[in-house]
């Protein structure tokens, strides 16, 4: 969690220093959710999420140098500079992005579950979304399919209270978000996302159900982001400084976890300090690596578009694939 926190803070500084273009959707405050969930992954479990994807990327084990280089748009980035902040992928770690259209990734997550089941593997797909995504039609279509076909898909709603500047109250009708699962006969539950133990406890149960019985689940996790929707969000119009400070001081997942580990004697102040310093050093190293790396070239723009164009010796089609 500390590594995610320091990476996000370092990215923010880089963005403010004009090293990063476009959007930056920071995960600061939500670390326990990604770490709690991804730490439970088995060999045949998969993860997909939306654009607030840095936390999940680090939690599944991606290299922070490649992640920072991707933010800088360098060719050494995890997507060769072609995706940017919203599009981190690592198939070898069963991590499928990193998606920009709200809710658009959820049918893909259902598809991952479909594929796992089709191949006879004992695994589950965790498909993450925010509170705002639950109003997208594609999400409902995916839930219906998962229930109809008994797909091992866990729909994880990271409810950080605000969909950009719009609160749940102003966007979502009905008794709640996870409750909508009942319409499809899908079991749902909620948990407190600032407590990493509670996240793991809740998710462990639904993962077992998915892997062993192919039962989908909806889990709504109560969490909070300290920064705006993206770095460009002044976030003055929809919440108060007091609310943010309350979370930072009283509900921060890192502070809570550290306190527990200190009390249990697993950590000392010194060893905790070392973890923090190492996380900062890692983030700085990532930024140095990104800074020193080259950009892609103009010739790179039209690569990685077609599998066939990237594998010319195996191409069976003919004719022109590009038109300028």
């Amino acid at each position: 969690m500390m590594r995610i926190r320091r990476f996000e803070e370092r990215s923010l500084r880089a963005y403010q220093g004009k090293k990063i273009g476009g959007f930056l959707h920071l995960y600061i405050g939500q670390e326990a959710v990604a770490v709690g969930c991804c730490s439970l992954m088995g060999a045949d479990d998969h993860v997909i999420t939306a654009y607030r994807d840095h936390g999940h990327a680090i939690a599944v084990g991606m290299d922070t140098k490649a992640l920072m280089a991707e933010l800088y748009g360098k060719v050494t980035g995890c997507s060769k500079g072609k995706g940017g902040s919203m599009h981190y992928f690592a198939p070898s770690l069963n991590y499928w992005g990193g998606h920009g259209i709200v809710g658009g990734q959820i049918p893909l997550g259902t598809g991952l579950a479909y594929g796992v089941k089709y191949q006879g593997k004992k695994g589950a797909a965790m498909a993450f979304m925010g509170d705002g995504a639950v109003n997208q039609g594609a999400v409902h279509e995916a839930m219906n399919l998962a229930a109809l076909w008994d797909l091992p898909c866990i729909f994880v709603i990271e409810n950080n209270r605000y969909s950009m500047g719009t609160s749940q109250l102003r966007s979502s009708a009905g008794p709640g978000l996870a409750e909508r699962a009942a319409a499809y006969g899908i079991n749902w539950s909620k948990c407190y996302g600032h407590d990493i133990y509670e996240v793991r406890d809740t998710m462990n149960e639904v993962l077992q159900l998915a892997r062993n019985e192919h039962k989908p689940s909806v889990v709504e996790i109560d969490t909070y982001r300290y920064r705006g929707h993206s770095v460009a969000d002044p976030d003055k119009t929809y919440r108060t400084r007091d609310e943010i400070d309350d979370y930072r001081k009283n509900k921060d997942p890192l502070i809570a976890f550290k306190a527990t580990l200190l009390a249990e004697g697993v950590l000392t102040e010194d060893s905790s300090s070392v973890i923090d310093q190492e996380a900062r050093a890692e983030a700085d190293l990532a930024a140095e690596f990104a800074e020193a790396s080259p950009y892609p070239t103009p010739e790179d723009i039209q690569k990685d578009v077609y599998w066939e164009a990237d594998h010319p010796d195996q191409r069976t089609s003919q004719g022109r694939l590009f038109f300028n």
């Binding site: 998969h46 997909i48 980035g77 995890c78 997507s79 060769k80 500079g81 072609k82 995706g83 599009h87 992928f89 690592a90 198939p91 499928w96 992005g97 990193g98 998606h99 920009g100 259209i101 658009g104 990734q105 959820i106 049918p107 893909l108 997550g109 259902t110 598809g111 991952l112 579950a113 479909y114 594929g115 796992v116 089709y118 191949q119 797909a125 039609g137 594609a138 409902h140 279509e141 995916a142 219906n144 399919l145 109809l148 039209q302 690569k303 990685d304 578009v305 077609y306 599998w307 066939e308 990237d310 594998h311 069976t316 089609s317 003919q318 004719g319 022109r320 694939l321 590009f322 038109f323």
Partner: protein
């Protein structure tokens, strides 16, 4: 060689590829128990069972997105759209996810999907069921677009499409489903994407076309030969993207006059792209401006006789050929 209908040819391709590769799955509305809205998948459920032939609810965004997600793990879904008109319900999945995931991941992922179904007007089903979106689809780098006109082309191209590791969009035609033609039963016979076919050789004018308009063009060419003594060459593109432009250029160099015939609304149609490319690369070969016969520029009208007027027809093709020849 056996004679099959276009429908039977598509079915044969599906059956052969389902038997060949256990990762191939056919999914869509009414494809299994109903035997297919247009009977293309008739008998396949009995032959392959419900794991391979999957009925979906009416959820294009949901089931197409599911197929795309599964393809990232190596499943090869062939997803049927009852009408290609319904693609717009799944636009985000098709043209943001399938088209872009490879690029956004820097080449780490590919989506070996096929989406197939009929794309045509001419059956009085109105403005929302008569779309021919090959131009819209082909505008997206990362996808492939195929529009076969004959049973043999349909079978050979669909087999290639299913084996292709990129997303391939395969546009059929309900009016062509009953058309008959010779089709090889060689299970290994593939027609590559991106290879056009000169369906009729000629010397005085080139018609560049695809899909059902190939049939109109061939009929028009007969009339032109009999009644006007001119020789028309008909180039069937078969594949919009990748595009066999060399065959087009070769024909233009021979005849020096071009007519594009397309069942497309005119603005930014496939013909718009072709016209630009021909004048860009073969300007000096042209003895006349390039003309085209397209769908009349309005939403698809219901009234049956007027829909016939709205769509390309043999009469309009003949008139246009004469105009280009006289130019």
């Amino acid at each position: 060689m056996p004679v099959l209908t276009y429908r039977e040819a598509v079915r044969a391709a599906l059956s052969e590829e389902l038997a060949r590769d256990e990762n191939v799955v056919l999914m869509g509305e009414e494809v299994a128990q109903f035997n297919g809205a247009y009977k293309v998948s008739e008998g396949l459920l009995d032959k392959f069972g419900p794991k391979r032939i999957v009925d979906t609810p009416i959820s294009e965004a949901g089931f197409i997105g599911t197929g795309i997600g599964a393809s990232m793990l190596g499943i090869r879904p062939v997803m049927e759209l009852m009408f290609w008109s319904f693609y717009s319900v799944a636009f985000d999945q098709i043209l943001n996810n399938a088209a872009n995931v490879r690029y956004m991941s820097g080449g780490l992922i590919n989506c070996p999907i096929v989406i197939r179904g009929p794309a045509n007007g001419g059956t009085n089903v109105g403005a929302t069921h008569s779309h021919t979106p090959e131009n819209v689809l082909a505008n997206h780098p990362g996808v492939k677009v195929v529009v076969p006109s004959t049973p043999a082309d349909a079978k050979g191209l669909l087999k290639s499409a299913i084996r292709d590791n990129d997303p391939v969009f395969f546009l059929e035609n309900t009016i062509l489903y009953g058309e008959k033609g010779e089709v090889s039963d060689d299970k290994d016979l593939l027609i590559p994407l991106g290879l056009a076919d000169v369906k009729r050789e000629g010397t005085d004018l080139t018609i560049v076309t695809y899909g059902r308009c190939v049939l109109h063009s061939l009929a028009a060419a007969e009339i032109i030969a009999e009644k006007h003594g001119a020789s028309v060459e008909v180039v069937d593109l078969r594949s919009i993207r990748p595009l066999d432009f060399d065959t087009v250029l070769k024909s233009v160099a021979k005849t020096h006059r071009v007519l594009i015939v397309e069942e497309q609304k005119p603005f930014c149609s496939v013909g718009s792209q072709l016209g630009f490319m021909i004048q860009e690369e073969a300007f000096d070969e042209l003895d006349a401006p390039i003309l085209r016969v397209s769908t009349l520029d309005a939403p698809a009208i219901y009234s049956p006789p007027m829909e016939t007027v709205q769509l390309p027809s043999i009469e309009r093709v003949v008139a246009a050929v004469l105009k280009v020849l006289a130019s």
